[in-house]
Amino acid sequence: MNLAQMLFYVMSFIALASAVFVAATKNLVRSIFMFFITLFALAGLYVLALADFVAVTQIVIYVGGILVLILFAFMLSGRETLNAMALQQKQFISIGKLPAFLLAALFLIVLLNMIIKVDANNLEWVKKSIESKNDIPVNAAMTEDIGVGLMTRYLLPFEAISILLMLALVGAAHLSRKGRGA
């Protein structure tokens, strides 16, 4: 087992263990901080997959942005709301949790199905793109490739996402505004 593989297993273990802790713990704040470790381990896995730009973006957006905003919302909400959340029904199986259970089970089946069926070492489309030289070598300039890709081939989805974000921004501004009489 070489160093890269060892790192992969260590980081996957950290990611999985911290994710389980995030879902299982009763202490909400600690689960948010533990989520930070999950995200960091995921960033490490991205680096191992040679996607360093994605790894850094993961840290900028999720750790620096979203996680801090979650904490912010958490700290702004009153103690009563938090207590009510902590006092949720304790039993593991109950009728209220049925939809969540169903969703999780279905997702697990889909994932297992995919993992068993896929043959990761010789995928059809990977072979094809290597044959037609449509692949990026390890030492290529990733950032430039991503930038050029976003502005040419994936321009439409990129613009669609920016319109979506713009709508969210306008909506948030509208909601937080003190309405005149509204």
């Binding site: 360093d52 850094v56 840290i59 750790v63 620096g64 904490l71 912010f72 700290m75 990733m142």
Partner: protein
């Protein structure tokens, strides 16, 4: 295996440097504040009070580590470490001289930007873990401030990156002097590739980068929680903000992080705008000042001198300007700096397309 040992040595060296800088920085801050306020500052311990910070560190090492009874112990203990490590990791990508950089990342600038944002998390952790109303107020103010000021800082940085066309800090540094592989123009018209010196620095490559530098500098003050942006630790309202409950070594770690952060943001500013390790002296005809004063040792000397000058300006500003109110702080960020930074980015794009 040899290069792993080198990595360890470099990491320890950087840690030693940041600790040394914090010691020196605290002393300098005391002396500068004393000078500005017409006092004497530390005078008793050592010659001119120069051993004062060593004495303070010795005192802090002996102090009891108090954990408040109602605190979340784990978060409380981990927070100073996370705050410091976030800043310390940033040092990994900073170039010190031609060919002398701890980690040659082609995403260097983006990496530093990402790593710095982790500090916010540590501050929130400290605030929540302390279970103290002053701490949590300070932490929330700090987080709001850092998130807001990341936007103008980020766009000021992007306007440089658009001119430089790379995120690799070493390449950005190389472009600003006589060692540049491409043509360098002083504000777009005068070719200074062989003259170098102060004319080749990024602030003078395009006039709007001077504005971008000022925006970045103001935002970096806010990101390192320094006055006039020190509402997270406003002594007159919040005791000491997010580190109210910390004692002894943990408090020292928070302090170390603050001073390392000052050095880090100043050094990023120097690398991006003020010519990094390039000499300020130009070649004038036969007097090849720039050629004589370039090289590894000169590089380290220049970059440290420039960074310390910026840190000095940070201290000067801290002891001159009064603290901003929260609404003034946000108004400055969103109504002045952010639109200006956007304008800089736009001009950068036009500049790169039509003038370079």
């Amino acid at each position: 295996m040899n290069f792993y040992i080198t990595y360890f040595f470099i990491a320890i060296g950087l840690f030693g440097f940041s600790a040394l800088f914090a010691l020196f920085g605290v002393y300098a801050e005391r002396k500068i504040s004393a000078f500005i306020q017409d006092r004497l500052g530390p005078t008793e311990t050592g010659k001119f009070g120069s051993l004062q910070t060593f004495a303070d560190i010795l005192k802090m090492l002996q102090k009891e580590l108090i954990i408040p009874a109602a605190a979340d112990k784990l978060l409380f203990m981990m927070a100073p470490a996370i705050i410091f490590i976030a800043v310390y990791l940033g040092f990994a990508a900073l170039p010190w001289a031609p060919g002398l950089v701890p980690a040659k990342l082609n995403l260097g600038l983006y990496y530093i930007f990402a790593i710095i944002s982790i500090e916010t998390l540590g501050i929130l952790m400290a605030g929540w873990g302390s279970n103290n109303k002053y701490s949590i107020l300070g932490a929330m103010r700090s987080a709001a401030q850092i998130i807001s000021y990341e936007i103008p800082a980020g766009f000021a940085l992007i306007s440089v990156v658009m001119i430089a066309q790379t995120l690799n800090l070493q390449n950005i540094a190389t472009q600003q002097g006589i060692l540049s592989p491409e043509k360098v123009n002083f504000s777009g018209f005068w070719d200074v590739s062989s003259i170098g010196g102060i004319f080749a620095w990024n602030v003078f490559r395009a006039p709007h980068l001077l504005i971008a530098f000022v925006i970045y500098f103001i935002a970096s003050l806010a990101e390192s929680n320094r006055a006039p942006f020190d509402i997270p630790e406003a002594e007159s309202e919040l005791v000491a903000g997010f580190h109210t409950e910390y004692t002894g070594l943990r408090f020292a770690l928070v302090f170390l992080a603050e001073y390392s952060m000052m050095f880090l943001v100043s050094m990023v500013g120097v690398i991006l705008f003020l010519g990094a390790w390039n000499t300020p002296l130009p070649n004038i005809g036969a007097i090849q000042l720039a050629n004589w004063t370039s090289g590894a040792v000169w590089g380290i000397l220049w970059i440290i001198a420039k960074t310390l000058a910026l840190v000095g300006i940070q201290m000067w500003i801290r002891w001159t300007l009064p603290r901003f109110r929260v609404d003034q702080l946000m108004a400055l960020c969103w109504k002045v700096l952010t639109p200006l930074a956007f304008a800089c980015m736009l001009i950068s794009g036009i500049w790169r397309l039509w003038l370079m």
